[in-house]
Amino acid sequence: MTHDEIVIAIKDIIATIAPDEELGNLAMDVRLRDQIELDSMDFLDIVMELRKRYGVQVPEEDYMQLATLKGCVDYLGPKLESKKLVTHALKA
């Protein structure tokens, strides 16, 4: 996956768990929970979907790394390098 695809992958997961949120204008370097309504229960679900879709395990101590989209790209980049993008909620 490219970095752009990782952003799509994360947005698709958020669209799956929070279908009512508007995701078009998410800034890369602002905390996700400051831009949309996401609580700690929702973060569990993001991690759960990463495991289901891409087999990626995120240990609890690394949750902070996923706070922004940029953080997601930096942290997940190496882990998702060889994976293919999967989308469920967003139209390609």
Binding site: D39, D42, V47, M48, K52
Partner: protein
């Protein structure tokens, strides 16, 4: 057979727990002793008609997308679109009290201004105190230990000087979910007042049955397994750890995580860990409920309130009555009085009053039927006072008692709101055994769904595995 998790009971909390576990790709089975799902919020068929149990309504009603509130959170966690519930908001409800020859009606709807207006009309001197009370209400998280330790009546009295208004404000929250008689904690009052008054009430268009179907569909889509007519005889454990469950037919399922919605005392019994104080931990509140099918809609008979919480005289007798039933207080609801897009074909009135479980057990069938008739007649006399008399319009009626409730929910004493002792973190003396549902202490349909979700999240979905 080995499972990652076993859930006891296919009620609201069990199904919600099952969905969360299946979503996380856990191998999970939900076990239900009866042939119908739903537990305390269920439905049944009599004389070709379907009847529902429970209050026919959801509290915590908010418009689609309202952030940070229970309904939005459960829908998101269960991945159920808001539209799937097809919620019809209430028209308007009331707390009605007869004092002498006068009936005082505190009115409210999903627009809080209506309640504020009603308070201002009935108690002009209390407007400021009422607003201060609302601003001071504890939140949904039960995080405030002090609020759990102090009684709601006492705290209300600190804001509101007129004891009559204090009494009126207690009635709906008590009937909506208090496992304790007369009073509840300020923390519980906060949750219930928010759920009923600050948010509101609505009815799924398909009724409770429609809501259960949505949950079942989600559960099976996620790959969860459901076994009906499959009761649990015991929970097996060794050295403080869960090993599995034994079913009524003697077969065993292995697992190290059990989520039980059976109730606190009932779950202890399943573990063979009865306690001397078990009797005291059985809830004292049960109910007789009657459903009258009518030849006309209540609205055309001049009654358009959605729910009426009533008390003939004060103080309110929210308690176990000395014998069969307490007809002078209760809840009266008309499922056609919601703002629905598919108007019902038949009118329905449902009436629920406190009852004494011990009076109803052990009666011979003819005596049981006769007592039930007597109880229902007394209850319908109250309906005549606070709404209308359904008897001249009744095509068919059916009633059930604490005995029925105990049989179908497995809750001892037919205790609808479970034990007064709650396990708010869901933990038990055994590792791998969690309580969900009524005795975890969240009330109402939305609360109990949240209970199943929250306890599963906390015990199994954290990546490090163990609880917290």
């Amino acid at each position: 057979m080995r499972y990652d998790a076993v859930v006891i009971g296919a009620g609201m909390s069990g199904l919600a727990a099952g969905i969360r576990l299946a979503q996380a790709q856990k191998r999970v089975v939900v076990l239900e002793r009866h042939s119908l799902w739903g537990g305390l919020n269920s439905f049944y068929k009599r004389a070709g008609r379907r009847f529902e149990t429970g209050l026919h309504a959801l509290t915590n009603y908010v418009p689609r997308g309202t952030p940070g509130v229970p309904l939005t959170r459960i829908l998101r966690q269960l991945r159920i679109p808001y539209e799937a519930l097809r919620l019809a908001p209430q028209k308007g409800s009331q707390t009605a009290v007869r004092l002498g020859s006068e009936i005082l009606r505190l009115e409210y709807s999903n627009d809080f201004a209506r309640m504020q207006g009603s308070v201002a009309r009935l108690f002009p001197a209390e407007v400021v105190g009422f607003e201060r009370m609302v601003a001071a209400l504890p939140g949904y998280d039960y995080a405030d230990a002090q609020a759990l330790a102090v009684g709601a009546r006492q705290r209300l009295g600190e804001f509101i000087r007129d004891p009559l208004l204090v009494q009126l404000l207690m009635i709906a929250p008590l009937f909506y979910g208090s496992p304790t008689e007369h009073d509840m904690s300020w923390a519980e009052f906060g949750v219930l007042f928010r759920s009923i008054h600050l948010e509101g009430m609505a009815r799924p268009e398909g009724g409770i049955r429609g809501l259960l179907e949505v949950l079942l569909e989600r559960y099976s889509k996620e790959g969860g397994e459901l076994r009906m007519r499959c009761g649990v005889r015991s929970i097996r454990h060794e050295r403080g750890r869960v090993l599995g469950v034994q079913l009524d037919d003697g077969s065993e399922l292995e697992t190290d995580q059990v989520f039980s919605s059976a109730g606190l005392v009932e779950t202890r019994a399943l573990c063979g860990m009865e306690r001397a104080h078990d009797e005291a931990d059985v809830g004292r509140l049960s109910f007789v409920e009657v459903c009258c099918v009518l030849d006309s809609l209540p609205e055309t008979l001049g009654h358009d309130a959605t729910i009426v919480f009533f008390s003939d005289g004060l103080p309110l007798r929210y308690q176990q009555p000395p014998d069969f039933v307490e007809p002078r207080c209760g809840v009266l609801t008309c499922p056609s009085n919601y703002l629905t897009t598919s108007p019902p074909q038949e009118g329905l009135m449902r009436l629920t009053c406190p009852a004494r479980h011990a009076s109803w057990v052990g009666l011979e069938p003819h005596e049981y039927a006769a007592q039930k008739e007597r109880a229902v007649e007394a209850m319908l006399d109250s309906a005549r006072i606070f709404a209308f008399d359904p008897r001249p319009h009744t095509l068919y009626r059916d009633a059930f008692t604490p005995r029925t409730i105990e049989h179908f929910t497995g809750h001892r004493g037919g205790a609808v709101y479970g034990s007064p002792r709650k396990s708010r973190d869901g933990r038990t003396e055994l590792e791998g055994l969690s309580l969900i549902g009524t005795d975890q202490g969240l009330v109402g349909v939305v609360g109990t769904l949240l209970s199943g979700i929250g306890i599963v999240n906390q015990t199994m979905l954290r990546p490090t595995g163990g609880p917290r």
